[in-house]
């Protein structure tokens, strides 16, 4: 089966000379959940605009399900659904009217369309307000309606440009749920995001894009593994015996795979590749030495760390406080050296 998206050496230069996309290549398979992760202005939206026939590429080749983006654009428009970054729902129309219009423009008619609209409104939990004008909706409701309108014609492939930017955590979680459900039903999803957590949770595979170039490719766990260093945090039971803490540190340093050990008031922190495999070794050697472990934990590097690794920058330093759960600063997880 051919890839549903096949992009080779895509370049897009805007009229003012800005090179928004600078020779990117990637493939997406049918039914994949694929992500483009990158900061504002990285070229994510521009790529989506080219892939959805809104912008004409400067050079390179783009094929959607084997159809050339320039010569078969009419065919492509029939099989794709697109949600742009800004929420686009007609505020003067009701939720149902918004859906019906989108269906009509996709040449759907009659009862089949009505039934489809009812199903989708139920899917995004808007049945109760189906006949209310969108102007009365909250931001989250508008976003859900926008998503539903892109699905009316049952697209094989949907493009979502930062579908959860500006949403509260609850609405964001709801959107994630719909997207996972759709993907399970066989829809290929191409998503862009600047949220690490979102890319990590949803995308089976992703590309990291920065300054119009793809800097890394792979599954979230592959990408994270590539940069190595998981963190192991360990606490021993206080037995009153002298030097136990120093002995524990020594044991960790001798464990194969561990690159660095730090001790702090909270206990010991060790850095290692594939820490999951090492934990068993640690437990065994501590057991043999008679040191009791109070707690042991492993945390993987986040995609945030991956982004930092490849670009040398944080993805949204100016909005670090807004980032969803988890550590926000790389250095913050290191205990202070003694």
């Amino acid at each position: 089966m051919p890839d549903i998206i096949d992009v080779k050496d895509l370049v897009l230069v805007y009229g003012d000379g800005t090179k928004a996309v600078d020779g990117i290549s990637f493939q997406v398979q049918e039914n994949e959940f694929f992500g483009f992760l990158g900061p504002n202005g990285a070229g994510k939206s521009t790529t989506i605009k080219v892939l959805t026939t809104l912008l004409r590429k400067t050079s390179g080749s783009v094929a959607i399900a084997g159809n050339d983006i320039n010569s078969d654009s009419a065919k492509i428009r029939k099989m794709i659904g697109v949600q742009s970054q800004e929420t686009v729902v007609d505020l003067d129309l009701t939720a149902r009217e918004n859906m019906m219009l989108q269906g009509h423009l996709h040449q759907m008619r009659g009862d089949a369309l009505k039934k489809r609209v009812d199903e989708l409104l139920a899917l995004v939990d808007l049945t109760d307000v189906a006949d209310k004008r969108a102007s009365s909706f909250s931001g989250g409701m508008k976003k859900r309606l926008d998503l539903a309108t892109t699905l009316v014609h049952g697209p094989r492939l949907i493009f979502l440009d930062e579908p959860t930017t500006g949403l509260d955590p609850q609405s964001r979680a709801a959107v994630w749920q719909y997207l996972e459900k759709l993907n399970k039903e066989g829809v290929t999803v191409f998503l862009t995001t600047q949220y690490m957590e979102e890319a990590d949770k949803l995308c089976k595979r992703l590309s990291i894009i920065d300054h119009g170039k793809i800097v890394a490719n792979g599954t979230p766990s592959e990408l994270k593994r590539e940069i190595g260093t998981d963190t192991i945090t360990l606490k021993i039971e206080e037995s009153g015996l002298e030097g136990q803490s120093a002995r524990a540190k020594e044991l960790l340093q001798q464990t194969k795979g561990i690159t660095e050990v730090l001790s702090s008031d909270d206990g010991l922190t060790a850095y290692a590749k594939d820490a999951g495999f090492i934990v068993a070794d640690i437990v065994r050697s501590f057991d043999a030495s008679g040191i009791k472990i109070a707690s042991i934990g492993v945390s993987s590097p986040s995609l945030d760390d991956v982004f930092l690794h490849h670009t040398g920058r944080r993805i949204r330093p100016e909005e670090a406080g807004q980032k969803p759960a988890g550590r926000t600063r790389f250095g913050a997880r290191r205990p202070t050296r003694q």
């Binding site: 009419a74 003067d92 129309l93 009217e97 996709h106 014609h153």
Partner: protein
């Protein structure tokens, strides 16, 4: 086939939006209604004093002009809706569907034409209540409405072109304000040219496209089917429409592809 359907659905959308923002209709009707109620009182004795008014009441003379004034100012607002559709992303949302590209523009133009006709009907009913009547009756009214809608279509091209170029609703509104008054008052919409205006203005008025359409509609209301006037009105409107709508199409194509 898809052109017809798509135009229809986008026309219905535009119309629904228009009906649901009645304040817009109210304001655009306000001006012609004030003209109708105030001017017909203010100038009632002038029409009797100047033979160039043709011996009819000022109401009879001015109603066709007020109808055209309404079409003129409404059509100059046409571009503001397309600016909204562009800036809010609706056009882009339409463009990623298989919708017929021309339907996006045609749906808008049909809605504008519908609006002009509906507003004209309201003005006409009011004028009838004040004592106005069409000598050519229903066929003449239909012909007059066709001329008025066609006239609106021709002028909407200017506002659409400006809207598509600047993407600024304020610019479109501003342009409407600047064009309306000089063009309207230097035409035969509200007063006759010869025997009333100073000579230089008679000349201006004779080149003013509004005059041609007003004269044709006025003939239909007061005299009957004067085919010469109707033909020259159609010719002038067609000329304007070709230029303005070609410019619109050019600008629209640049956005679409």
């Amino acid at each position: 086939m898809s052109l017809l359907y798509d135009t229809w659905y986008l026309f219905v959308r535009a119309l629904t939006k228009l009906i649901r923002t009645p304040i817009l209709l109210f304001f655009s009707l306000l001006q012609p209604i004030i003209f109708l109620l105030l001017f017909t009182q203010l100038f009632s004795k002038i029409a009797a004093a100047f033979p160039s008014f043709g011996g009819v009441s000022y109401l009879a003379f001015a109603t066709p002009g007020i109808l055209l004034q309404n079409a003129f100012s409404s059509s100059l607002q046409s571009g503001t809706s397309i600016v909204d559709d562009l800036n809010l992303g609706y056009v882009q949302k339409f463009l990623v569907t298989p919708v017929n590209r021309s339907a996006i523009l045609l749906g808008r133009l049909c809605c504008d034409a519908f609006r002009v006709v509906a507003q004209s009907l309201i003005i006409l009913v009011l004028a009838y209540l004040l004592g106005f009547s069409f000598t050519t009756e229903v066929p003449g009214i239909l012909a007059a409405f066709f001329l008025i809608a066609y006239f609106g279509f021709a002028w909407s091209g200017i506002s659409l072109t400006i809207g598509l170029t600047t993407r600024s609703a304020e610019t479109v509104f501003g342009l409407g304000g600047i064009l309306t008054f000089p063009l309207l008052f230097m035409s035969t919409a509200l007063v006759p040219a010869k025997g009333f205006m100073p000579n230089w203005m008679v000349t201006v008025s004779s080149y003013n496209p509004i005059s041609y359409t007003v004269n044709a509609v006025r003939d239909l209301a007061l005299k009957g089917f004067v085919f010469g006037d109707i033909a020259s009105a159609l010719l002038v409107i067609t000329g304007i429409a070709l230029v303005t709508q070609a410019a619109t199409l050019y600008k629209f194509r640049k956005i679409v592809s």
